[in-house]
Symmetry: C3
Subunit: 136 residues, 3 copies
């Protein structure tokens, strides 16, 4: 089977983006190609003025979750944006923003952080998604 | 690898259902078979009296998220039920409700919108899930 | 294609863990190998003192969701921990805790329920993830 890993990022909270970035780095380290497709709230998280800001955690994280990410950073957890940079350096693949999501938010590629490589339609993404597809 | 796309719909919010429907249409457009399996809160969203109602958005969407789906509809976003209809017209596959979830909710196939093709056990779904499996 | 099912458990709510366990049992029943990788809030749910406690439901479950899991248990829904035990008995595979997540929470293998087989790095998990990868 093709071992390309296709990550569809839908969520925009820091805990899910961190988990996604860890999977991306792990897959790239094992020689897998990693393609990332940004939809909905993840598009906002990759904004050029917002990528390093606090994006909160999933509501299920509860009362302790709100402070957990800060503690994790103190304990050496890298920012997910740095991990995605590493995944791109180590392996092939790239970060693509969903064309339809940009249209819905009425933003363009210029509003996104330069870590985003390009804008792509969902059919083009699906054509490349020849291995597992992970929705986060 | 088999390129059948198996979508497990667990969530019942309109943003996640829209994202799922977009992936289904994109995959069908690329000639992939798309099988959808409805569990838990997604079963409720496909109810015959509720499918076109407001199902809210994921809590992480925040204060702006509540109004975002309405804006998206104004900007031409189709309803996810229409997109799933298109995916079924374009490609093979179908929409299956999880037998166990129906039992838990104490409802039957007749309580669901006709877009749902049949009721299926998880083992039968897994037997057909020969490609990527996406949990949304 | 390799039909090993790799489940990345990120969420720690009982509804998502139940859905994951049902997929694991269904896959094992069809002869598939099932590997589970515990990250973030799922690690806490598998704690040796907390695994059988109430872990809540996804916020999207709404006002009715809070009581739904109790009703489901009355209607014969098994606890997800029992379902994961069954999946392990029926098929191959195991439950692995993410080494980085343990470090972030400052806990060790001894703090987890014995159903967890071992601690593993993300690269090792990715090396075994030769089939679909499901993030829950």
């Amino acid at each position: 089977m093709d071992d390309t890993l296709s990550l569809v990022l839908f969520s925009g909270t820091d805990d899910k983006l961190n988990a996604a970035a860890v999977l991306a780095v792990g897959a790239a380290a094992m020689g897998r190609k990693v393609n990332v497709f940004l939809q909905y709230w993840a598009v906002e998280a990759f904004g050029k003025d917002s990528i390093r800001k606090d994006h909160g955690v999933a509501p299920e994280a509860g009362v302790e979750g709100a402070s957990a990410m800060a503690r994790f950073a103190e304990r050496g957890q890298q920012h997910w944006a740095d991990l995605f940079e590493q995944a791109k350096l180590v392996g092939e693949g790239g970060i693509h923003a969903c064309a339809m999501s940009l249209a819905l938010f009425e933003i363009t590629k210029d509003d996104l952080d330069p870590i985003v490589d390009d804008v792509e339609g969902v059919a083009a993404f699906m054509a490349e998604a020849t291995g597992p597809i992970v929705f986060i």
